[in-house]
């Protein structure tokens, strides 16, 4: 089963994304901050990470930078979750190697489509 790590400090967002991804057949793990995300990935690398940019402590972009600078985690596909007001951060996210981004408020159906698209792009590459 394809595993997705959802990283967001808002439990409502985590619940919703988890529900929709599980409904679509993904195995979902969760983290509520940057440290938790780093620990989860170190424990077992997921097939894809949905990463919120703005979080307490280490920001999503910093987490992404650390993963990309480590050979073991550099290849994990990452989709950024961002609020509308932080869309400028997305450019920086792409520079750091993000694969796609989803703006909050988001359509759960579109989010699943994007996750699937990124995974199939990675598989065909």
């Amino acid at each position: 089963m394809t595993s997705v790590l959802v990283v967001d400090d808002d439990p409502d967002v985590c619940d919703l994304v988890t529900y929709k991804l599980e409904q679509s057949g993904f195995e979902v793990r969760r983290a509520s901050d940057g440290d938790g995300a780093l620990r989860e990935v170190a424990r077992r690398a997921p097939d894809l990470v949905l990463l919120d940019i703005m979080m307490p402590g280490i920001s999503g972009l910093e987490v992404l930078e650390r993963w990309r600078s480590d050979q073991a985690t550099a290849g994990i596909p990452v989709v950024l979750l961002t609020a509308k007001a932080q869309e400028n951060d997305v450019e920086r996210g792409f520079e750091l190697g993000a694969d796609d981004y989803v703006v909050k408020p988001f359509s759960p159906r579109e989010l699943v489509r994007r996750v699937t698209a990124v995974l199939s792009r990675r598989q065909s590459a």
Partner: protein
């Protein structure tokens, strides 16, 4: 006064004071305990409701229980739904809003918009925006145009932007005519959110047929440009020659965004030396976006302009015009003075953006210096980066 009366009075005062202090303590403790119990109940009720709401947001049909719950559990249902409604859009938002409509929540919230407390009216307006119900539009229009509290009008403006009707566009533009209007950035965001629904009102405002036109026309020009509304180009061109500098600059900026060559000549006319330098700088930048090579001579004539941004933007625009612009820049770069410096900088930036080695001062830094970003290149990017 006998001393035993004073002593009695003191004892009575101590007893009454102590009783009051204990009562206060008791009320505080009981209040806290009650608040804790209520918070636990609310959390428990929300935990029970959450899976049903999640299922609806995930595309499942709403169970009848979710529609019929009343009392504390009914309130919990609405809290949970609004929590998720703020996070989603599309089908999920429509399904959640539908549950609220069927529960009769819109009518209850509409009643709350008449509260004498401004924070309650603002909260109610925010919820109406989340539901985006056409039923709420009339009341939101009233709040945007008539509420005495700026906080309420700001929230109602944002909410009206989510209703998606043409009436909302007219109201949002009219609200700019107030003596204490909602900040323009918030009105612009709401108009952008309305998107195509706002276009008829924006184009009408641009024609200036309504009273109170200056702010409205400036806003209309800016938003039409951001919406890439090509059919509005003639209305925008008509405003390039209007009597108001801000309206003209907004129209020129919008035409630059649209990038239509038909607008190049009227914009180039704004480069004349008698025009305001701010307008000329905006016009130069817009011509760069349009990229019509026929405007190269007019832009080249601005390279020696004493106003930094006019000359800088003209050089940047020439660099975007292809071979005609590059020829003008190369000619100017061979000269002396400010114009030559702007031309050389634009040529260097053009070369770098094409992945080539620049021929100007930047080349010397690139080929000889160990840290180009710390020296010569920083001059170009620091001075030019903000304006272009």
């Amino acid at each position: 006064m006998p001393s035993f009366i004073t002593a009695r009075f003191l004892i009575a005062a101590i007893i009454v004071g102590s009783a009051l202090a204990y009562t206060l303590l008791l009320v505080t403790v009981v209040g806290r305990v009650l608040r804790g119990i209520l918070a636990d109940r609310r959390a428990r009720a929300e935990r029970q409701i959450r899976p049903m709401v999640l299922a609806v947001a995930g595309g499942e049909p709403a169970p009848p229980q979710l529609i019929s719950l009343r009392g504390a559990r009914g309130r919990a249902t609405e809290r949970v739904i609004f929590g998720y409604l703020a996070q989603v859009r599309g089908e999920a938002a429509d399904l959640l809003a539908d549950v609220l409509q069927r529960r009769g929540a819109v009518e209850a919230i509409l009643r709350r918009t008449h509260s004498s407390w401004s924070h309650r009216r603002a909260a109610a307006a925010g919820r109406l925006g989340l539901i985006a119900s056409p039923q709420a539009e009339h009341r939101l229009v009233e709040l945007v145009t008539g509420d005495h509290s700026l906080e309420v009008r700001i929230v109602a403006t944002r909410a009206l932007g989510k209703t998606g009707s043409a009436v909302a566009g007219v109201t949002l533009l009219r609200s700019l005519s107030r003596a204490d209007p909602v900040p323009e950035g918030i009105v612009a965001s709401a108009l952008l959110e309305l998107g195509p629904e706002a276009v008829p009102a924006l184009r009408e405002a641009l024609s200036g047929q309504r009273a109170g036109g200056r702010r409205q026309r400036t806003m209309a020009a800016n938003v039409l440009g951001l919406l890439d509304e090509m059919p509005a180009w003639q209305g925008l061109v008509a405003n390039v020659t209007s009597g108001d500098l801000e309206v003209r600059a907004s129209a020129v900026r919008a035409l630059g965004r649209l990038g239509l060559p038909q607008a190049a000549a009227p914009i180039a006319a704004c480069l004349r030396s008698g025009e305001d330098p701010a307008l000329r700088a905006v016009a130069a930048r817009a011509l760069g976006r349009i990229g019509d090579p026929h405007t190269a001579p007019a832009l080249a004539a601005c390279l020696d302009d004493p106003h930094y941004w006019v000359a800088h933007n003209a050089a940047g625009a020439l660099a975007a015009l292809g071979s005609a612009g590059a020829a003008e820049l190369a000619h100017a770069a061979r000269g002396q003075g400010r114009g030559a410096a702007h031309a050389r900088e634009a040529l260097d930036r053009r070369a770098l953006s094409r992945g080539e080695l620049p021929a100007g001062p930047a080349a010397a830094v690139l080929t000889s210096g160990p840290a180009p970003d710390a020296a010569g290149l920083a001059v170009g990017s620091a001075r030019g980066g903000r304006g272009w």
